[in-house]
Amino acid sequence: MMKRRTVLKGIAAGAGVTLGMNATYLRAQTAPIRIGASYALSGVGAPVGTQMLAGTEIAIHQINRDGGLLGREVQLVTRDDKYNSAESVAIAREFAGDGINLMLGGSQTVTALGLAPLAPELNMVAIIVAAAGMPVTHELFNRNIFRTTANNYTQYGSLGRTLIEQNPEIRTWVSLAPDGDFGRDSALFFGRAVEKYSEAASGEKATVLDTIYTQATATDFRTQINQLMSSQAEGLYLGIAASAQISFFQQARSVGLYDKFKAIGEVGNSDITGKALGRNTHPNLWSICHWLYNQEPFASNPVSQQLYKDYVELKGDDFPSGQVAAGHRAAIALFEGIRKAETTDTDEVIGAMENLSFESAGGPVEFRTEDHQMLGLNFYSQMGPSTEEPYFQFNKVTSVDAVEMIEPANPGQPFDINELPQ
């Protein structure tokens, strides 16, 4: 079998010679650098995926405007992974088959889990844009993947810390989370951080009640809302995302949950929730924040300013979602890696990225060499209703440095919070 393959390759090469090898050689030096992007553009992941794609497209536009990379134009090849792992696997293979060895993908954990183990087989550099699952930098780790977003432990620990530091008067907290790995873990990380940082914040350890679980795909939360209303808690972590979170708020608001809970931290819907609920947004709702163009520290950051300017120009919209910056950041990481490696060769780019630091819309970030996890500031925003369009607004942005909140690098091994030093 091997022989036959070699023969065929030989024939192909022979054909190359007769058709003029010079042209082929020249093209390799001046041909565009092709980068694959696989985002969820349809299905339930579409609202997030399309925003990330916009950020990536802007990054491509910017680099080409500045003369390209290594003197070559950068081309983006976009595919819709349909929020489906089989589809994302197929796309990665298609990219590899087309000679694309640099890609952005894994906009959700489902697609990242399919993509990550594949990267070495396809000899690719795969940037995991937004999947925060712990396995990516632990048991699924391989040197071909880089994650340009915080992992769950860092993310939800920081969210918990932010909430208790910003609301030290709230003594009792509870979580509502989807039943499953992610829900359990994020609620646990959040709760542990609340307990840990409460003493420093108010001199007294806060109480964290047992997590209330629901189904990941539930649409009716009345039972859980009733449990929340009957609990002692005044602070809430909300682990349900996307449309389910909005349904929760719709059902919770009319029974008075907004009055009972003084502060809510949510899993990452951010302005998706704000846009949907408008003036019915909870007045003290904290979210994970990737980017808010008009809030400090973003407003004075030159990368952020340029990103906003180009977004408005290219997309004709004045209110970019924070996810745009996630797609933008992932693309810059790859560009800087290529620039540093001075080639697009997979191994060289990996080597260059392993101790790369660069400027993003949220300030300087770098990769941790051991597990290719991005480090930098993680931001949390507080939003509430407003009287003007779009009837919700961000009031405040705070940040926590990932270095303070991350677990020690332990690539190849599963993550277990109970093994960490307290």
């Binding site: 792992s85 089989a86 293979r93 298609e94 088959g97 990550a116 499953g180």
Partner: protein, 337 residues
């Protein structure tokens, strides 16, 4: 509601003439065998998925096209095979891969038997449709709660198997090698299904589909025939799922919802359920459409839905039916012989 009122089907047509059939099949096999050298990895992946989808669609059509029962939860069987194989490889059950495949198929057949024995005597038509949907949804919920099966995230990082034949090891770790194994498995499975459909058993399936009452009064045990068909169909669907797990190397809940169950329905109808090869043609056509529309993000649902409705209204016998009509028109006579 009467089954024999399907006026639009004018008998089963033999589209492939005795000479053309083997030629087409041989050419197809040759193309598929050499595909790894001609196609890029992404396309090759889709070719592999198409073969799996073709088996899956054939398994559904054995039930619908040949026995007259419509399952709307066939993804449940597929998922049984996929999750079992995924778990067997991921957690290394210490079973030879061929045994894993066999067990996956048997598991599917046993589940079908259980459903059949309890329900199939009384359940046909709408009831069967709703029951199979509901059972599949329930299964998805249970998988979603199972930590070992990856809950909502799916079972990822599934290794490809190495087949120990005693005298030599077949290492299927590389995708080209697994592809060839998949191709051979597909050929064997399709041949087995072809045999079932054209055998004495297959004729009793068709008798039950055509007219269950009449079948009963030629002495056919209708309930038993239905259960047997359901078992073969469920087992084959599970086998399709089992073959898919090492190919995609991840199994997720996307493969268990009722949208996934409609994939074989769509393929069978698109290709033509009155012909044995219809589901295969449908799987190929569907992949083609999907591949062609992959750049029109967000439009795929409208396209797929629209195509389904149009096929039902304009060409209920599918692509194979249309081809049959066309060839008969070209030959200039209506009769077959």
């Amino acid at each position: 509601m009467v089954q024999n009122s399907s006026t639009s089907i004018q008998g089963r047509m033999t589209t492939f003439s005795p000479v053309l059939g083997p030629v087409v099949l041989t050419a197809l096999f040759a193309f598929l065998f050499f595909a790894p050298m001609m196609l890029n990895a992404g396309l090759l992946f889709w070719v592999g998925m198409t073969m799996i989808q073709a088996i899956f669609a054939l398994s559904w059509n054995l039930l619908f096209g040949y026995t007259g029962l419509a399952s709307f939860g066939h993804a449940g069987f597929y998922a049984i095979g996929a999750y079992f194989t995924g778990a067997a490889l991921r957690y290394d059950f210490q079973l030879p891969f061929l045994v894993v495949l066999a067990v996956a198929g048997i598991l599917g057949a046993l589940v079908a038997l259980a459903i059949g024995v309890v329900a199939l005597k009384r359940l046909t038509g709408i009831f069967l449709a709703v029951l199979t949907v509901a059972l599949t949804e329930a299964m998805a919920k249970i998988i979603g709660l199972s930590k070992a099966l990856g809950e909502q995230d799916g079972l990822g990082n599934i290794p490809r198997p190495i087949i120990d034949l005693g005298f030599l090891d077949l290492d299927l770790t590389h995708s080209h090698d697994y592809y060839r194994f998949l191709l051979i498995a597909t050929v064997v499975t399709v041949a087995a299904l072809w045999w079932v459909v054209h055998s004495r058993l297959g004729r009793s399936f068709r008798a039950v589909r055509e007219d269950a009452e009449r079948a009963r009064f030629v002495g056919i045990d209708v309930a038993r025939v239905r259960v047997i068909s359901f078992m073969i169909s469920g087992g084959t669907a599970a086998l399709a799922g089992a073959l898919s797990a090492p190919w995609t190397r991840i199994v997720t809940l996307d493969q268990v919802n009722w949208l996934a169950s409609t994939q074989p329905i769509l393929n069978s109808l698109l290709g033509g359920f009155t012909s044995f090869w219809g589901p295969v043609v449908g799987a190929v056509a569907y992949t083609g459409i999907n591949y062609w529309t992959r750049t029109f993000a967000g439009l795929s649902e409208m396209l797929v839905g629209g195509i389904l409705v149009l096929v039902i209204l304009l060409a209920p016998t599918g692509i194979v039916g249309l081809l049959g009509k066309a060839t008969r028109r070209i030959r200039g006579n209506g009769g077959k012989k």
